[in-house]
């Protein structure tokens, strides 16, 4: 079956309203950055105890989701599943857009964002951060080449090789992102190699949730046909990814509970950490895990796009909450500096953190950057198949 790709028209009032709305969010984010950089970080909720706050939560959420958004293309090119092939272009585009949004937030939260050039020219190869800078830049190049192979008919034959390269690169990239925390030996909340594979499986879930939402929205708003075969397949896959995330979360916490050294921070997150415990159980586990799985797998709701969309939104909210617990919660609990002793004065206690409005605006701005990039690029380049009706998209369709 021949797939025809076509730009969206993008002339409707709704289209311009969407672009304008996202533009306002981006401007607000830039304003927030100017405010924070002008005054210094004292205007944020961050401190010397909570050194990474909400901007890092959003940045890492978007970066993790970016590598996961590429999975749909990988399933087509690397694992040769025909049904995913027409979705590959959008998958590559979304991956680049989410990464751009995430990196923008990360860079603009630096103490000296004006010194970005230093980060690009001075490398300490023992630093996971330095490796990540290379991995992120490489991801842009490799996915751009991959997209070119897909777009250019003469290059189509190289698509699966480029796809394999991109797939391998993204696995390394997410390993690098997870390792930012995995290698922090001093902090009981992080020092665990499982962080890397857990981040990979989180990326599968968050990336696919983003992808499903954007796919359904763009086909609905442009009134293009989108068959149940594609949507239901993606939905089932999403359910599996969410279950896998919950498995990794369970292993991580159970493994940590076993070590007396980590019992304190585990008890904090799981049982008596106030807001962090509530966020963990109600936000990450119930809202971001159990409810989406029920929405996806409940027989009465199978094939229901509204509930699939709702499940995807819950997964994304749960994902932000999960990163908040990892990043902020992990810092809030004090480091074990004197094993066998209790610190009475000078250090310790749960560090306070209240996200400030500018931090939130910067984080949301990152999402807006990703979405505006997708919105504009599908207008100017043929990313979306003009139809994903079952008889076109489903290789096993019987009419």
């Amino acid at each position: 079956m021949n797939i025809r790709y076509e730009e969206i028209q993008g002339v409707s009032l709704g289209f311009y309203a969407l672009v304008a709305g996202l533009g306002v969010l981006i401007l607000a984010a830039l304003g927030a950055v100017f405010y924070m950089e002008h005054h210094g970080h004292y205007v944020t909720g961050m401190s010397n105890r909570i050194v990474w706050g909400v901007p890092h939560v959003f940045a890492l959420f978007l970066i993790v989701a970016a590598s996961g958004a590429l999975n749909v293309a990988s399933i087509a090119s690397v694992f040769h599943k025909k049904m995913y092939k027409p979705l590959s272009r959008l998958s590559g585009l979304l991956a680049l857009a989410l990464l751009a949004g995430g990196l923008m937030v990360l860079v603009l939260d630096l103490g000296r964002p004006d010194r970005l050039i230093v980060a690009m020219t001075e490398y300490n190869f023992k630093s996971i951060f330095a490796w990540n800078i290379i991995l992120y830049n490489g991801f842009f190049v490799i996915v751009a080449v991959y997209l070119w192979m897909m777009f250019e008919r003469r290059m189509n034959k190289f698509t699966s090789k480029a796809g394999l390269a991109a797939f391998s690169w993204r696995l390394i990239l997410t390993t690098g992102t997870g390792s930012i925390f995995g290698f922090l030996v001093a902090r009981q909340a992080y020092d665990a190699v499982i962080m890397a594979p857990m981040f990979i499986i989180m990326s599968f879930a968050f990336g696919l949730a983003f992808f499903i939402l954007i796919l359904m929205a763009s086909y609905k708003w442009t009134e293009r046909p989108l068959g149940d075969a594609v949507v239901n397949r993606l939905g089932s896959l999403l359910g599996i990814f969410v279950a896998a995330v919950m498995y990794f979360v369970a292993v991580k916490h159970l493994g940590n509970l076993y070590l007396a050294e980590n019992a304190g921070v585990e008890n904090f997150i799981l049982f008596d950490g106030g807001i962090y415990t509530q966020l963990f159980w109600y936000g990450q586990i119930i809202l971001g895990g159990l409810i989406p799985m029920a929405l996806i797998y409940h027989p009465a709701l199978r094939g229901n796009r509204s509930t699939l969309g709702l499940a995807s939104i819950f997964i994304l909210i749960g994902g932000v909450i999960q990163l908040y617990i990892i990043i902020v919660g992990g810092q809030a609990y004090p480091m074990e500096m004197f094993p066998g002793k209790e610190i009475l004065e000078g250090y310790g206690g749960i560090a306070a953190y209240t996200p400030s409005l500018p931090e939130m605006m910067l984080g949301v701005g990152g999402i807006a950057v990703a979405l505006i990039a997708v919105t504009l690029l599908v207008k100017f380049l043929p990313f979306l198949p003009e139809s994903l009706a079952d008889e076109i998209a489903d290789p096993h369709h019987k009419s």
């Binding site: 004292y42 010397n48 103490g111 000296r112 290698f183 001093a186 009475l344």
Partner: protein, 244 residues
């Protein structure tokens, strides 16, 4: 200008500029980090360290060490930063043994590790260890990512949250960069002791070359029991404690 500027001219001009900038930049770096580089090059034949005897050191003396550091290096008078946002190069800690109930007070600052986690994680090499074991932040390279603060097991580093005024000439600091105890490198390079050590009028705090068999610190460490904080991390700290 575009008419007359050919390739050769461009290369000439840009090389001259590069050399100029490089000269100025290296000059700044030299004045900041190696005051007496010409006379006594910094080598790894020395390893600066500190031994703190918590049985001898009084709480008043620890407070004195903190204010001596503030006075010397100019931190602590920030106006906007609140609570945990304020820089702390050295702090007074009070710890209690869970079994015996014994309470110990001690000053905690950068431990000047031989294997510093902050140096390992720094993406731009701004966090660095001098050959003589002093761990520093190059304020010209620091991009303010705060990864070193995540990595430090001693919570010894601070991020400057606001614009600073009235800085010490020998200790440049800057909004948006990370800072910590420098072991008063500017004094050590002139043959003096760090300000906090000098503020204590007893032998409760000893500063010196850990490698030099004739130094007081080396000889004392051979005699008395001492400990490193978080010795399990195997970072081989330059700051040692006895009595904890």
């Amino acid at each position: 200008m575009s008419k007359t500027l050919n390739r050769r001219d461009f290369i000439k001009t840009s090389s001259a500029t590069t050399v100029g900038v490089a000269t100025i930049v290296s000059g700044i770096t030299l004045t900041t980090f190696a005051a007496n580089a010409n006379e006594n090059p910094v080598t790894n034949e020395k390893r600066w360290g500190m031994l703190i005897d918590t049985n001898k050191l009084t709480e008043v003396e620890i407070d004195g060490m903190v204010s001596a550091c503030q006075q010397e290096n100019g931190w602590g008078s920030e106006v906007h930063s609140t609570g945990d946002q304020k820089p702390t190069w050295v702090r007074k800690l009070k710890v209690q043994d869970k079994a015996t109930g014994k309470i110990t007070s001690l000053p905690l600052m950068c431990q000047h590790c031989e294997e510093p986690p902050c140096v390992d994680v720094c993406p731009t090499n701004a966090s660095m260890k001098r050959e003589d074991g002093i761990v520093l932040v190059d304020k010209h390279l620091c991009i303010g990512c705060r990864y070193c603060m995540m990595a430090c097991p001693y919570d010894a580093r601070s991020f400057v949250h606001e614009d600073l005024t009235d800085q010490r000439e020998h200790m440049p600091r800057g909004k948006g960069t990370v800072e910590s105890c420098t072991l008063c490198v500017h004094k050590v390079d002139n043959g003096e002791s760090p300000a906090c050590v000098a503020s204590v009028n007893s032998d409760a705090v000893i500063f010196g070359d850990l490698y030099d068999p004739k130094s007081n610190i080396n000889q004392t460490l051979k005699k008395v029991q001492s400990a490193q904080i978080r010795a399990d991390l195997d970072l081989n700290t330059g700051v040692r404690y006895s009595g904890i």
